[in-house]
């Protein structure tokens, strides 16, 4: 089962779930950014973080050839 190692980084994917699916941690007005309440720019920031996490998992799981 050498493929097992490829999936060893999947736990990183838990991070976006914790970051975005618990509204009490981010449903606030302040601090604001460019006039956007925290709620909005926080979630937009998480889109980018999730993309980066996807990229990290992708490169870490690059098959050895």
């Amino acid at each position: 089962m050498t493929e097992k190692t490829k999936q060893g980084y999947y736990w990183l994917f838990l991070i976006p779930f914790i970051g975005t699916l618990i509204p009490p941690i981010y449903s606030k007005m302040d601090p604001q950014l460019f006039g956007l309440p925290y709620f909005y720019w926080y979630l937009i920031l998480w889109i980018i973080i999730t993309g980066i996490i996807g990229g990290i998992v992708y490169f870490l799981s690059e098959p050895k050839r």
């Binding site: 493929e3 975005t20 449903s27 007005m29 006039g35 889109i47 980018i48 996807g54 998992v57 992708y58």
Partner: protein, 517 residues
């Protein structure tokens, strides 16, 4: 209404772009030539799409015109709650990364075209396979109809579409063109037209989020006006605690549901490797940024004083009010083409399901691959005609109701499709019963909400918890599947023969060219 007031500048630019896209759609048949009389070529583009094509195709597939119209409209109507689309399209990608390459590999190894093919082979169950196919087709139909609503909305805003018996003629023409090029080019057509759509969408988003706030006095002002306007209709610019559960379950449930829709599975199966899908799971979030920025248009509409009771008109009216007319033509073309791309993929996906899992399975067992493709092509026409008649004849609200139901229904195929990718411990009869109960209870919940909403107030353990009905239904579904599987397996009830093998699911360095295209 009465007097027809056509916005010529916008309309001419719209028309030019539309004709161009139609040309691209027809030309697509010659692109990466394949034998289009085979279902694998017509309905999956030969499973050869690389990273870029897959990116555009899935971008067009997941972020539809309806999304771009409906999400800002929801924000306009209720405020922060409408932003659930953002966490939804965030958690979507980790799930996609883990689930879809595995599904791709087993489908490639066994020549499956649809999720029903997989379920049939994995669980040796024609009835569960039929359940998956029927659920998929039922959930897709209203979704196609809603894409038409996107086209209709921009036509109406341009002053087209408001005269007597011919009022739906432009919509018919648009759809006839779509039907014709989908018929001839198959999945290659939406893949190529998606490129044009995306360029237009990104241009629109960038201009809209810079120009409109500047014109309206900045985001601080937009949000303060929105707060006043929303409080008057019981909305809020910040999520209130009582909506936390609904917000999260709607995001999570919608993410799983989206990946189970036939058009999304068709889109992913058309890529050339599991690795391509993984790469795209990291690249696709860029579209979510566009979606989040577009969602903010809802607040801009409130601040701009847009007053309408027709939700699909919120975005078109805002653009017309705040941007130069020629640019609105581009934005409207983006929305209309953004409707054609997913509508094409959806009709192909529904057609694949019908042809493979209903027609061949139950009516013509010896059908050749050519017959299969022929039936799929004709079905794609019928599906689109059905959606068109739906929009023209039946009041719009029913299409929206059915779309709500569709999301609840499609999630009920999750235990068989996603669960089946990792385990065969689930008993096929347990899956069927779980699916049935999930469908029935989900429909009942939607019924008690008069189909107007999908967040259900579940009373459990003396408390009441507001959450996405689809999630409640699929939890019941899963619990039943687990309990019944334990019983049926213990009773040694026959569970058929698995026609897939363990190695089908695993990555194979041989079929994974590492080069990025």
């Amino acid at each position: 209404m009465g007097v027809i007031h056509i916005k010529w500048q916008a309309f001419i630019i719209f028309l030019v772009l539309f004709v161009f896209v139609a040309g691209v759609g027809f030309w697509a048949a010659r692109w990466r030539r394949g034998d289009l009389t085979l279902l694998d070529e017509w309905g999956l583009g030969g499973r050869r799409f690389g990273t870029w094509v897959t990116w555009f195709l899935l971008g067009g597939d997941l972020y539809t015109a309806y999304t771009f119209i409906a999400v800002p409209a929801l924000v306009y109507g209720v405020g922060a709650f409408g932003f659930f689309a953002v966490p939804y399209t965030i958690v979507l990608y980790p799930i996609m990364y883990i689930v879809m390459p595995r599904l791709w590999r087993v489908c490639k190894a066994n020549n499956f075209v649809t999720p029903s093919d997989f379920v049939k082979a994995r669980f040796d169950s024609r009835s569960m396979s039929l359940a998956v196919a029927v659920t998929g087709i039922l959930a897709t139909m209203p979704y196609i109809a809603l894409q038409l609503v996107g086209i209709q909305a921009v036509l109406v805003a341009m002053g087209i579409n408001s005269t007597g018996v011919l009022k739906d003629l432009p919509l018919f023409i648009a759809f006839a063109i779509l039907a014709a090029y989908t018929y001839t080019s198959g999945l290659r057509a939406p893949a190529l037209t998606a490129v044009v759509k995306d360029i237009l969408i990104y241009a629109t988003v960038i201009v809209a989020v810079i120009a409109i706030p500047a014109k309206l006095g900045g985001f601080t002002h937009i949000f303060s006006v929105s707060q006043t306007a929303l409080l008057a209709k019981k909305g809020n610019i910040i999520l209130t605690p009582k909506l936390y559960g609904a917000f999260s379950t709607l995001a999570l449930g919608s993410a799983f549901a989206l990946l189970l829709y036939p058009h999304v599975i068709t889109g992913t199966l058309s890529s050339k490797s599991g690795r391509t899908i993984e790469r795209n799971s990291a690249l696709l979030p860029l579209y979510s940024v566009a979606l989040a920025l577009l969602a903010l248009l809802g607040f801009m509409a409130l601040a701009a004083g847009i007053k309408t009771s027709v939700s699909s008109e919120v975005v078109p009216l805002l653009l017309l009010k705040t941007l130069p007319e020629w640019f609105v033509g581009i934005a409207f073309a983006a929305i209309a083409i953004g409707a054609l791309v997913p509508a094409a993929i959806m009709s192909i996906a529904a057609a694949n399901l019908f042809s493979r899992n209903v027609y061949k399975e139950f009516f013509n067992h010896g059908a050749t691959t050519q017959q299969e493709a022929k039936v799929a092509k004709v079905t794609s026409l019928i599906v689109k005609l059905g959606a068109l008649l739906f929009v023209v004849i039946i009041p719009l609200k029913y299409a929206i109701y059915l779309q709500t139901l569709g999301g609840i229904w499609i999630l009920q195929t999750g235990p068989a499709i996603i669960g089946g990718l990792w385990t065969r411990w689930f008993h096929k009869k347990a899956l069927l019963i779980g699916w049935f109960v999930g469908m029935a209870w989900g429909t009942y919940m939607a019924y008690t909400l008069k189909f107007a909403s999908s967040t259900y107030d579940l009373r459990i353990f003396g408390k009441s918890e507001l959450g996405y009905a689809a999630v409640y239904a699929v939890i019941a579904n899963l619990v039943l599947v687990v309990i019944l599987s334990a019983i049926f397996n213990a009773a040694k009830m026959s569970n058929g023969v698995d026609k897939t093998s363990a190695s089908d699911y695993l990555p194979d360095a041989q079929i994974e060219p590492a080069k990025v295209r």
